[in-house]
Amino acid sequence: MSTAERLMAKMTARRGERALGAAALMGLTATAVFGLLVTPPDADEGNVFRLIYVHVPSAWLAYLSFLVVFVCSVVYLVTKRIRWDRLAAASAEVGVIFILLTLVVGSIWAKPTWGTWWTWDPRLTTTAVLFLVYVAYLAVRRLPDGPGRRARWSAVIGIVAFVDVPIVHLSVAWWRSQHQAPAILHVAPRMAASMAAALIVGVVAFTFLYAYLVVLRLRVGRLEERLVAEALSPRLEVTPAHPAALPEEVPARG
């Protein structure tokens, strides 16, 4: 077991899972308190500006999760250890949910401030394309096929999708710049200290939330695989202890 795999095993143990959940819950509570009570309303935008404390952290979470998918895909293709594929799958699912949240919250924010639900701003457009690519990634994962083949296909898509992101962003940025000036940066250049603090708390909280959701998803995935293995084993006349189908249990400690 490499150090990274050992760390992964530790995080996915039930105790680690509960600790992550508690940290995420505390962080989200702190974000809500900071975002709603401590920070003042924005000078120009008023209370709508408070959406930033959800919008920016969820965008950060989504991009982080796709980076994890990319890294896990590379590691999977090199090591061929199925746990990296499972981690990529869990990360992609969480990422798709939060990139959708980013788009929806951004849209709700854009309506009162920009007067429109959507503008073809480079960041917005790249995010939308990214959302579609990773929806396709998840769709490929659901194809009925052998686990080995699914893992390899997904890994290739996870890699190609990620290296495509900078080119997509560049093309959209140039495409826009020929039409009109880029959208106005909506984050004020000088933020009140409490606003910046709320934003940092939000990013930290969402990072814990990400880890918690991924760990939870990994456990659900293991249970799914165990069910499949147990359902199939009497017919295949093998014990469920088949290495490929066996959930990677962490020895109980303490």
Partner: protein, 224 residues
């Protein structure tokens, strides 16, 4: 055999299948024409509107029709265990990717020639203004398109992926080709072909990334 010769052999095989089956001519080109007519009907007969949107419609028709070509390229491998034969052949897996991409490239160039003629006729576009820019945009754009399609065309082997998932995957990934292709074409049409260097460079960068990634990881898609 070198990688280039192996790729050429695979490409020659695919082109031969296409010449004998005439799928591109019989189904893909008519489909592109149908798409163009549908665009024309949906936008109405306003001449200036059609001329302004023509570069975009041109590339959209190519993009939609190319999905059919990619699928066809691997459908023929699914018949009679042809793909197994190809995998057993003592060639580099990357040669299968490069060869199939080259064959699809050739088919798409034929398709594009027809689409360009149709767009010139139907939408009153004068494409002869900067021929070098136009040819550059089509060649570079088609390389990237053919590479993306040939990489993930393997998915089309699976019947469920064939319908919706394959286009859902390929079309967003090909966003840079659509944007840069349309922009370079629009500049060429507007007699400003000299300003299209950036877009052609972007297409080239996309080609390098996709062909490079495909050559490196394609074997992983096939390994069983």
């Amino acid at each position: 055999m070198s990688l280039a010769r192996q790729s050429a052999a695979v490409a020659a095989k695919d082109v031969r299948i296409e010449i004998r089956g005439r799928y591109a001519l019989g189904a893909v080109v008519p489909f592109a024409a149908t798409v163009l007519i549908a665009f024309g009907l949906s936008l109405g007969p306003d001449r200036t509107l059609l001329q302004r949107t023509a570069p975009g419609l041109l590339w959209l028709a190519v993009l939609f029709a190319s999905v059919l070509s990619f699928r066809r390229s691997y459908e023929s491998e699914g018949e009679d265990g042809a793909l197994e034969g190809l995998l057993l052949a003592p060639i580099d897996k990357a040669a299968i990717f490069l060869g199939k991409a080259a064959a699809v490239f050739a088919q798409l160039v034929v398709l594009e020639a027809v689409v360009v003629v149709l767009v010139t006729g139907l939408f009153g576009l004068s494409l002869g203004a900067s021929p070098a820019t136009l040819v550059g945009a089509f060649v570079l754009g088609t390389v990237g398109l053919a590479a993306v399609g040939s990489m993930f065309g393997v998915l089309a082997e699976s019947p469920r992926a064939r319908e919706a998932i394959f286009p859902l995957l390929v079309l967003p990934l090909a966003t840079p080709v659509l944007i840069a292709g349309v922009k370079a074409t629009a500049l060429a049409v507007a007699h400003r072909g000299g300003e299209a260097h950036g877009w052609l460079g972007l297409l080239l960068a996309f080609d390098v990334v996709v062909v490079g990634a495909g050559t490196l990881v394609f074997g992983q898609l096939l390994e069983d």
